[in-house]
């Protein structure tokens, strides 16, 4: 069993969101970078659990990122990946990144491709589906459970107002979210081992980006909260009905 886990680097969830260069670039000053939570907690940890059940499993990690993504990918190796590949690009075009990942995946012959549900900065929820299409694989998105029985995967995915259980033969691409696994922290042995695990850097293939970012904007500031006295909660109900007109 060979699993490819797609790992991206995102600003910490509490990072201040600001822009520079005439609102065309995210202001990186003082920002802490983390492994995108969905990639780490769900995709990677579930892959590690599968390896714990079947020692023959090999986990490869792939990230499309510049050299500053290396601490992130080392941390992912410390959690339990076997080998990592960094595609040396800082593009933010989803198709470009997906096509780069697909190039790497084609060489690896993977049974499973795991991505996170979405990146918490660009919120595309796109790259998993694009990679699946480029590899001509079935794609189960927004999975909350993943079980393997030989070469058949039983996957639970989110649907509006509930869940759906489906079966699919490997190979398959899956985007992972809450429910798949429980977050872990790397232990000392993992951290030591990660230092010597292979991290291969490859140059990007010649692929055209399809989109470009024109500018960023911050939402208009809220007018401020209108406080109602705790002695008259009925006044709040009236305001929601008559002023906001939503109930």
């Amino acid at each position: 069993m060979k699993i490819l886990v797609c790992i991206s680097k995102t600003p910490d969830t509490t990072a201040k969101i600001a822009f520079t260069d005439n609102n065309t670039k995210f202001a990186q000053d003082g920002v802490q970078w983390i492994i995108n939570p969905y990639d780490e907690w769900y995709a990677l940890v579930r892959a590690i659990e599968l390896k714990e059940k079947d020692a023959g499993t090999i986990i490869h990690l792939v990230t499309a990122g510049a050299a500053d993504a290396e601490p992130i990918i080392r941390k992912a190796l410390a959690l339990g990946g076997d080998e990592a590949i960094r595609i040396n690009t800082d593009s933010h075009d989803s198709y470009y990144i997906a096509a780069q990942i697909a190039e790497v995946a084609k060489q690896g012959g993977y049974d499973l491709v795991f991505t996170g549900k979405e990146t918490i900065d660009y919120n595309g929820s796109s790259i998993g589906g694009m990679v699946a299409e480029l590899l001509n694989l079935p794609y189960v998105s927004l999975a909350t459970k993943f079980e393997l029985n030989g070469t058949t995967a039983t996957i639970t995915r989110e649907i509006e107002g509930g869940e759906e259980v489906c079966e699919v033969s490997l190979p398959v691409a899956v985007s992972c979210q809450k429910g798949m696994a429980e977050a872990r922290i790397p232990n000392m042995r993992g951290i030591m081992a990660a230092r010597t695990k292979p991290l291969k850097v490859v140059e990007p293939a010649a692929i055209d980006a399809l989109t470009s970012i024109v500018s960023f904007e911050l939402p208009p500031a809220k007018a401020g909260v209108k406080l109602v006295s705790p002695d008259t909660p009925e006044e709040l109900v009236r305001l929601l009905h008559e002023e906001a007109k939503i109930i």
Partner: protein
């Protein structure tokens, strides 16, 4: 130059988020000076001619039971065939659960630029630039789509559904016939008797301030009175007080209802990330310093156990119950 809109069904019924996409697509077609058509896959129970109300003239329908359940690979093939047949230059999806599975595949298949999570119509003066949510609702990005065919997936609850009196012509098609789905759905588990959170217009949510699961009666009552969905903070779901599918925030569901009422929730940044796209936020918290008040439109600094029952009584009175 026409616009094609993917209309999503579940168990034969058209999803509300698809009606938003349909209205959006029809308005976009007017903006571009062209016409809009819809595509529906699988068997349906609803009357498809009624989709004319949202402004489309024609619905392409593949009435094939093999397409009743989402298999993104097969759906993508069918939609790509529809794009070819209609000569569509813009394809619109809802950025709902199925849109997230299909739209990116279509983008890769057609090498068509895509924007995921659009919040408004494109700016077409001199290009094709679409505004979308980024940083989990904390900012927007304007994205230029630089290919001939363009794909837009529209954030749920960011476009108002219009209801005109048009009647759509339904054209039967057999796109992607003979391709058998690889994904076999073996069970559908619906959370019954509730408004699904991801589609809800009104949401009543509560946090650790409620002290324990036994105190949710008044929350459920408020939700029931308002015909709202219930949600909770992660702390509450982790403690097992409420089911996990109610957890909203960075690591749970991201929602954008018209009204979000947060009761006994502190308003941690990770919680806000899932709800800050709500149109109106109401916060009830006994701590005046709770960070949630900074994101709120209305609030009461007070004890939930006192305030909520009184609000419920006022809602009942207002609704004449």
């Amino acid at each position: 130059m026409s616009v094609l809109i993917f209309i999503d069904q579940a168990e034969g019924h058209i999803k509300k988020s698809s009606l938003e996409a349909l209205t959006y697509g029809a308005e976009l077609a007017v903006q571009l000076g062209t016409n809009a058509e819809g595509i529906v896959l699988g068997e349906v129970k609803d009357d498809l001619t009624a989709l004319g109300k949202q402004g489309v003239k024609k619905i392409q329908h593949v009435n094939n039971s093999a397409l009743n359940h989402l298999d993104a690979q097969v759906y993508t093939k069918a939609i790509a065939e529809a794009v070819a047949a209609t000569g569509a230059k813009v394809v619109v999806f809802s950025h709902n659960l199925s849109g997230k599975a299909i739209a990116p595949r279509l983008s890769a298949k057609l090498k068509a630029a895509m924007v995921a999570g659009a919040v408004g119509l494109p700016n077409t003066s001199g290009g094709f630039v679409v505004k979308k949510n980024v940083f989990s609702g904390k900012a927007f990005a304007n994205i230029s789509l630089n290919t001939d065919i363009k794909i837009i997936s529209l954030n749920p609850n960011s476009f108002h559904i219009t209801n005109g009196d048009g009647v759509a012509e339904v054209v039967s098609q057999n796109f992607a016939t003979g391709v058998s789905p690889k994904i076999k759905v073996t069970a559908v588990n619906k959370v019954t008797g509730e408004v699904p959170l991801s589609e809800a217009e009104l949401v009543v949510s509560a946090g650790r301030g409620l002290k324990g699961p036994e105190n949710w009666g008044m929350i459920e009552e408020m939700a029931h009175l308002l015909h709202a969905a219930t949600a909770c903070s992660r702390a509450v779901a982790d403690a097992g007080w409420r089911p996990h599918h109610e957890h909203v925030g960075q690591t749970g569901l991201a929602i954008a209802p018209n009204l979000y009422i947060a009761i006994g929730i502190s308003g941690a940044i990770q919680h806000l990330a899932g709800v800050n796209r709500s149109k109106v936020i109401v916060v009830i918290n006994k701590d005046p310093e709770a960070p949630f008040f900074k994101a709120a439109d209305y609030g009461i600094v007070g004890d939930a156990f006192d305030v909520v029952p009184k609000m419920n009584a006022a809602i009942k009175k207002m609704k004449g119950l």
